[in-house]
Structures are given as structure tokens and as C-alpha cells.
Symmetry: C2
């Protein structure tokens, strides 16, 4: 088996996909059939203050148009509501509905369960080391990933 540097990238992607796929399946099994982790993350961003399309776009490092599409989908499925802003005629404020809050709770529970499963497979210590190392490696960079045309040589 080739131990090339690319293996690490594949392992990271594979790990994410395993978690995301299982979470999606679990959400589907619990009645949230047309939702994926990306929607969960968008809801969390809205809940934590990104209550307009433009702001959500900035928060997720995508264009406001892309954010608006996600919002349209979330609204169509009743996870968020859009209400005109009384003090700013341009803005349409976003509010996470009860349905959306329930989804967030469910998603968090599922990720916690998956986390616990992984702990039981490789041990809490090993998994904590993985998290700690990754946090050190990607934590600072992930925050800096704000620009869409991101070009950095992070040495």
C-alpha cells in the first residue's frame, strides 16, 4: 500500500464522508428526510447571529446568492422563517423555527452518538489525540478561510 502524502487527505475526506453519510441516514431514519449536514450547519450559523442572507454568506464564506439558495430551501422545508425587518426596508430577517430547532437538537444528538461509537472503537484517548492534533493543524487556518478566492501559503 502506498504511504504517500495524499493518503492523509483521503483519510480525512473519508472520515468526514463516513460521519456525514451516517448522520444523513440517521436524520432520514428519524423523519428528517431531505436534510443533510450542510443544512444543519447553516441553521447553526443563523441561530448564532447570521440572520440575513448576506450575513450568512459571509459567515459560510460563500456568495450571498449561494446563501440565498440554501435559505430558500430551508424556508421551503419550514426550518427557517423570513420576516421583513421593521427598521431596514432592504433586509429580510431570518428566524429559526421550532421545527428547525428540533432538527438542530436531533443533529447534535446524532453526532454525539457517532462520536461515542468511534470512541468505543479506538478508545477515547486515541480519538481525543486525533481531535487535538487536527484542531492544532486546521483550527487557525479554518478561521482564516474567509475569502472565496483564498490563496494562501500557510507555512
Amino acid at each position: 500500500m502506498p504511504r504517500s502524502g495524499a493518503d492523509l487527505a483521503l483519510l480525512l475526506l473519508g472520515g468526514f464522508r463516513v460521519l456525514a453519510d451516517q448522520a444523513t441516514n440517521e436524520l432520514s431514519a428519524r423523519g428528517y428526510e431531505d436534510v443533510r449536514p450542510v443544512h444543519d450547519f447553516a441553521l447553526r450559523a443563523i441561530l448564532s447571529g447570521a440572520d440575513s442572507a448576506s450575513e450568512l454568506g459571509r459567515r459560510l464564506s460563500v456568495t450571498k446568492q449561494a446563501a440565498a439558495k440554501t435559505i430558500a430551501l430551508l424556508e421551503e422545508r419550514s426550518y427557517v422563517a423570513r420576516e421583513p425587518d421593521a427598521t431596514d426596508g432592504r433586509r429580510i430577517r431570518l428566524r429559526v423555527t421550532d421545527h428547525g430547532l428540533a432538527l438542530l437538537q436531533e443533529g447534535e444528538a446524532i453526532f454525539d452518538e457517532l462520536h461515542a461509537q468511534w470512541q468505543s472503537r479506538v478508545g477515547a484517548t486515541a480519538l481525543a489525540q486525533v481531535e487535538e492534533t487536527l484542531r492544532e493543524l486546521v483550527g487557525p487556518s479554518a478561521i482564516k478561510l474567509d475569502a472565496p478566492g483564498w490563496s494562501v501559503r500557510d507555512l
Copy 2:
């Protein structure tokens, strides 16, 4: 910051994206402006025996149509050549060109450099533990590289 189970998924995705983005930038800087890691991985699969569209699709866990699109792109950029099979009139065999081989070499070198950078940041031992743990968790069934279209820069 909540240490929820979802953090692990974000760390894995973030790690992949950091590596993939840097690799893409480096490839671009070295003259391969029109490729991304997914093309590198596809080339590698072709080189290791997936020398037809259908087989490549199976190898990458995507439909043969999706594989054909990737192949069309790789052919357009002269990384692979398509040649009719003498013994099977249906098949069109894939061959990685010299240009493709050069890209593969460059890609491998870049990933190795990134790997070395990470080693120097957190230590070879810690990074090896990350790889070992992930390999155990993700297993051999991990070579599915579809669209990393997830934009999940949460906080």
C-alpha cells in the same frame, strides 16, 4: 465553543479542505492550472488498472457516466488518451499520457511536502497517530471522492 460531536466532522472536513486547497494552489503555481485533486486521484486510479470508463466508475464509486465526464475533461487537457481496444469492440482503453504522469509526480511531491509541513508543526508521532487511528476507523472502503461541495465553515 461547544465541544459537540459535530466538531469532529468539521475538523476532518477542514483538514481535507486545507490540504486540497493548498495542493490546488501549488499545482496551479507549478503550471497545472486546470486541475484539482480529484483529477489527480482519477489519474491514479486509471494508472492502477481502471483503464475503462465503466471500471473507473466502479473504482471511484460513481456512475460510469460521471466517470466518462471526468475522462472527457482529462482527455481534453491531454492527461489521458483514449484508444479503441483491439480485442473488445465496445471498450475504449485509457492510457495516462506523459503529461499525466508528470502531473501525478508533481501532485505526489506536493502532498508529500504538505505532509512534511504538518509533521513539522505537530510532530511526526502525533501525525502518525492521527493517520493510524483514522485508518482504523475509516477502513479500506474510503476511496470515495465525490463532490466535496460542502461549504461548512462554521464556528
